[in-house]
Point group: C2
Chain length 374, copies 2
């Protein structure tokens, strides 16, 4: 009989990445279910989680690499990662490994093909279907929560204004006005955070049914009179006419705000332009744009991905990995998502029990037929 | 008859300084009172206030320097500055100029002597007495409000944790715990901002009478059982025994917090040590200390002024000029303070009417007898 399944935790190597795919208290939960947990040395260090915290709950430290490296006696059956594996990483994974993490299947199909060729069963958290059973596994949402919160903090830090109204003996400073474009999880969290800080927050989305959610966090709804509802809760792409009309009205509206935070993403597609160069020119000096869509081209026409630029006194900031800036809680939320998914894959004895017909498994699995694992 | 008094606005040259001593809408107020306002070109640029906004309200742009330079025909009777003038700046000021700004009279008495020798009437905003008539001129308070707000934002940005409690489908993240040491204007604003962001905020001060103010912003009061009330609303220095007892109890308390923000300043003195090296060692990894007292040695023993340092996973940040990071509103609040003071110095014809017996004038004036001006 084989021993219990081993779960390996990768030390992330992507530049600027500070998250880790498992945290000690969730390692303890897996160990409590009879699994072994092997953590690559230093994997949690940048998240404020030194190795001792992992070994204290019974996790082991990998000798060299726990990422399924054949040279490591403790090669893992399940490998957890935050960022997608490089070609080298994939070459080191033995066939039959179950890999779970952000794998960017729509953005980088070549990687998925490489995983398929290597005989890896790859479960992409991006591909978990948005069904209620899978809510606790929704890593896109958990990390979007972090992004939205950090985006509002970043905007407050970049703005030369107070977000809250301030009353002093010499008079009153009015609250900052913040417009958030895109009212998904990140947008709603950005609205809620700006509102908490005391700003006047306003939300906009092409899906009119989210107006109620925008209002529920205390923000106002910006009604431009254009609707575009698509599949899976995402916005569909607008027609050319709709887009032109939207941009004209948005450009007018944007001029009235001190801060604009954009969060409009269409999976696997270039981000829609919502803030044109003309709109930026219409903003007052000392205004701020924070664009969360920089990795897929940006929602602002003048965004330079990963940079802060000054255009006529308007600061345009394009942070590329906001969750990495808050690695402890971002990792904890992510690890909860992964552990929920792992618990769907193993039985009470700590052995694989993968149901390839399960819609969550079938949806998440972007390479390697689950039938081969079961 | 002489023409109306001229108020000159300096373009700040201190490294990192982005504030300006007057903003357009308050320039308009002075002009409305019959004064001329001359702004050094570019003075407001880094605060998001281009020259056009000043000229639009009737201010003039200085030909070379409006800082009283004798070579400038538009030499000013009253010169407004944010940061203290350099030796060179002082050499360029004609005798008889009234200089108003942060002049650091306690920290740099040599500068005050140089101003005296140069025949400048120097009004230091730090020396304005804390009487109710002078509340609207209280630049220390207005800038401390900015510092406290920015300190809480900085702490939130440095912390790898959410400040608010977050409830997700995969579970709940508890709110961050924030301890603010020193409950003056900056401390209270830091508490209020941390609380707004959703953290559990706790305040401490050696003056027990501020407990009520701490509670009024929604924070808890940390009672260590040590009191030290001094003159002018500042804390007196503690005795050695009191200090030892305070540090022991504080060190124990600090270990329980995710974030510590220190704001304990004693004017003209080295800042008291409140967070010892031992206390930092007692904090959990991924904790954060933001020390606002870095310019006078720091409240944390391991502070390196102007730097972010990592000590065993604890980040210690010592920002030196937080108001400069929010230059638009910091400048606006500061300008209101200065305009209130100027209005005390001029009559309804826009001419000097300085009453040397006025307690505000007498207190603020650190060089140059006002009798000579009147």
């Amino acid at each position: 009989m084989a021993g219990p399944l081993t779960v390996g935790v990768v030390a992330e190597t992507a530049p600027g990445e500070r998250r880790v795919a498992l945290v000690p208290k969730l390692a303890a939960r897996l160990i409590g279910r009879g699994l072994r947990v092997v953590v690559e040395p230093g994997a949690g260090r940048k998240a404020g989680l030194p190795d001792e915290l992992f070994t204290a709950v019974g996790a082991e430290l990998g000798a060299e690499s726990s990422c399924g490296d054949a040279a490591d006696s403790r090669r893992s059956d399940i490998v957890l990662t935050v960022t997608p594996p490089s070609e080298e990483d994939i070459a080191r994974l033995p066939a039959g490994t179950v890999l779970i993490g952000f794998l960017d299947p729509l953005g980088d199909p070549a990687r998925v093909e490489a995983l398929e060729r290597a005989g890896i069963t790859a479960l992409a958290v991006e591909s978990i279907p948005r069904v209620s059973r899978a809510q606790a596994m929704d890593a896109l949402s958990s990390q979007a929560n972090v992004s939205g919160y950090r985006a509002a903090l970043l905007a407050a830090q970049l703005s030369p204004r107070f977000f809250p109204m301030l009353t002093t003996a010499a008079g009153t400073v009015p609250p900052a006005t913040v417009l958030v474009l895109g009212a998904g999880v990140a947008g709603l969290q950005a609205l809620a955070t700006a509102k908490r800080l005391g700003a006047r927050a306003t939300g906009y989305d092409v899906r009119p049914e989210v107006a109620e959610q925008v209002r529920s966090v205390g923000a106002q709804w910006l009604d431009l009179g254009i609707e575009a509802i698509g599949d899976g809760g995402y916005a569909r792409e607008l027609t050319d006419d709709e887009r032109a009309q939207q941009q004209r009205r948005l450009t007018e509206a944007i001029a009235g705000f001190d801060v604009v935070i954009t969060t409009a993403l269409v999976p696997g597609r270039t981000a829609p332009t919502l803030v044109t160069a003309e709109a930026v020119r219409g903003m007052r000096p000392a205004s701020v744009v924070v664009d969360l869509a920089g990795a897929t081209g940006g929602n602002c026409e003048l965004t330079e991905p990963g940079e802060n630029v000054d255009v006529g006194g308007v600061t345009i900031s394009s942070p590329l990995n906001l969750p990495a800036g808050m690695p402890l809680h971002a990792s904890e939320l992510y690890a909860r998502n992964l552990v929920e998914l792992i618990e769907l894959l193993v039985d009470s004895e700590g052995r694989f029990a993968i149901d390839p017909a399960d819609e969550i498994v079938a949806g998440a699995c972007v390479a390697g037929l689950p039938e081969e694992v079961a």
